[in-house]
Symmetry: C2
């Protein structure tokens, strides 16, 4: 089929013919569709049976341009291939933590997947101070398994490189290279920031040590092909409810540094923490929920590290390094030490990448709803100034971070000082 | 044409039909061929015109197996595609420092190139204490240009990743992963070492800190896609004469850490240095030539660093980082500092990778002629023990190396102590 962008009528014709949907929506004669995309790159339809609205799917189709920038930023539709490949791999490695895939159609640049009608994008409920008792367990499992099993720690060198070849994703990488690591920190027409923090933004853009560190993080992002990373794992890419967690939208997936994914989760929890200075005026309510969020930061990292180490110790069949290599007196302890140092390096990278991402949210093209939803610009600025201080320290001090408590201590020090 | 391994008769028929050779050997009716390959993976023929032996070419054809291991180690012939691609790129980036390519034939897994009859593989003349007054200039230019212009410092992110996709070279990488970074340091049937140094070899294999460091260098080799590296740049891959230098055999080329190439050159000069304890009994002659070799180590690094920095400052059009990013007060100095730190990191990697390669030559499958040509095993052991000490220190102390003088100091300290 030749590519054509679907609308809420043609999408119904398209789905009628898909026998792969037989089990999900047996009768596809009374479908209704609505377009719900709020992303920047894609059309997203929810299609349900009028007879039984519980029978529903989502269809996501890539547009040939970046929506937020209009037609001026052409993007290849191949990104849907990356998203589909990654979704299928994530379903294999972390079943139940991503949406099921029913149909993938490369010509049409689309994927049809499970409708998550009982889930919400995580950002808003975090602003509402909801709690998600299984999130820590779920997201740490997702990260530990999706990263470990696509790395040289589990795959043979040949398997890994052949898989990596399928995820050379230069146009999507370019978006992150520009909008996470470069443009926010220099003059660039698309940047946007709260005028109240203009002085702080300009100070970042002229801070030599920080600019060096940001450039080093960009180098890490561009060259460290460690594992298949999601590469956009903020709380807007996580759907949750009381019992369930799903990671969506892996269209940026490629072989990059593990710490970029881990840092994205930690950093988004911290930005949400800061947003409560405005969203939650009651000091007790605020303190209680902020403590909950920092506990999540601590637990996400510690559970990730524990699970990553365990899955490695149990499945050490990758090219780096065969168990036989550790077969010498004290070899078992030295192998454990190698794992410890490797995981420590992921924490350093998470601090560095998380710090970059915190900064870019304050002064780049894509800000963050947790904070932009604060209407009073002065109150918003309070959060943003703290984010700039914390993000800068995470980046600059990344090499000295010895545990997640150091990251939390930086948050505590800066918020106490404010 | 279907693949068939050529012999010294069929190779002549093959070349007769190549019109691309018109300028090099206009009359191809009286060709003679001899097979001269001493490599492990390929057939190599020299074919010349009987009427004018100055009219000659080399034909190199990949065999479908690793010669040194017989038929038991099957290898795909695609490696000739990598070699040809790399030779063409090197001709473009460092003209005159690699052989010219006349014919490349992917079906037949072969390349026809310039015959370097007036050049010698560098290893043996270094044992004979020859001097090559242009080598430092040539090899530093080759490395600075081939590495810089294939990195994110010069290419756009999209260009680099699309080029990288053509150099996913998993089977050749696997050889280096096994034989440089893994098997020498554990029990593996193909390992060979001088029985005189058995105690030292076993000590390396049980040295926890060293094994950790070697594993970290393997991680660097496997994941740090920094630039198109030659990936086998020892003095057996360099052909020289008084005036000219050519880098050959880039069949291992892929996107890896720059320090792996630089470290290979430095390390091979040091191993040659050590070999003179046996090859050059006269103390004055030895001291004079060893000083020459250490001066080469110093100059190769310093010239490489100087040229790399200069070519970067003059051609900063790569994705990492645009000149505009450095446009702030003090930005020029900070950009210079970024280059300094980046190049310093190449030196650390060169120390680490060079150290690994020094060690593997003492206890792995592929030893080194400079040293194996020492017939007296006790004299040979003197050199080998020093190589193990120096290589171990280069790996373990790599993070603290601040200039090439530190690498040379380690050589001096260990040889003085011996």
């Amino acid at each position: 089929m030749t590519y054509q962008a679907l609308d809420s009528e043609s999408v119904i014709d398209y789905l009628k013919d898909r026998s792969a949907l037989e089990e999900v929506i047996p009768n596809r004669d009374d479908l209704v569709a609505k377009e719900v995309g709020d992303g920047n790159l894609n059309l997203v339809f929810i299609i349900e049976s009028q007879g039984d609205p519980d029978q529903a799917v989502v269809l996501k189709q890539a547009l040939p341009y970046l929506r937020v920038a209009g037609d001026s930023w052409p993007l290849t539709r191949e990104r849907m291939r990356f998203e589909t490949q990654a979704l299928l791999k994530h379903n294999e490695l972390a079943p139940g933590l991503v949406p099921l895939v029913y149909v993938s159609d490369e010509d049409m640049s689309l994927v049809v997947m499970e409708y998550l009608g009982n889930h919400r994008i995580m950002r808003q409920p975090l602003v509402e101070r909801r709690k998600f008792p299984h999130f820590v367990d779920h997201i740490s499992t997702f990260m530990a398994r999706s990263l470990f099993f696509t790395s040289d720690l589990y795959l043979t060198g040949v398997e890994k490189k052949e898989f990596q070849a399928k995820f050379i994703n230069p146009h999507m990488c370019k978006i992150q290279e520009d909008f996470v690591f470069t443009n926010p920190y220099m003059e660039s027409a698309e940047n946007q920031w709260n005028p109240e923090i203009d002085a702080e933004v300009q100070a970042v853009r002229a801070n030599g040590e920080l600019k060096l560190a940001l450039a080093e993080m960009k180098e890490s992002y561009m060259t460290h092909g460690q594992a298949l990373i999601h590469s956009d794992l903020h709380t807007g890419s996580v759907m949750v409810n009381e019992t369930d967690t799903r990671v969506i939208d892996p269209e940026f997936a490629f072989f990059g540094p593990m710490g970029f994914d881990v840092g994205a989760i930690l950093e988004n929890l911290v930005l949400n923490y800061l947003s409560h200075y405005a969203h939650t005026p009651d000091p007790d309510e605020r303190a209680e929920y902020q403590a909950y969020l920092l506990e999540m930061v601590r637990d996400v990292w510690n559970e990730f590290a524990r699970k990553f180490d365990a899955v490695w110790a149990e499945n050490n069949c990758g090219e780096l390094m065969p168990t036989k290599y550790w077969n010498f007196p004290a070899g078992e302890e030295i192998f454990a030490e190698f794992r410890r140092r490797y995981i420590q390096k992921i924490l350093h990278d998470a601090a560095g990448h998380g710090g970059c991402k915190m900064l870019r949210r304050m002064m780049g093209i894509v800000n963050i709803w947790d904070i932009t939803s604060i209407e009073d610009l002065q109150k918003r600025a309070v959060c943003e100034r703290l984010a700039i201080k914390i993000g800068s320290r995470w980046v600059l001090e990344r090499g000295k971070i010895s545990s997640v408590d150091d990251l939390i201590r930086i948050v505590a020090e800066e918020t106490k000082a404010a």
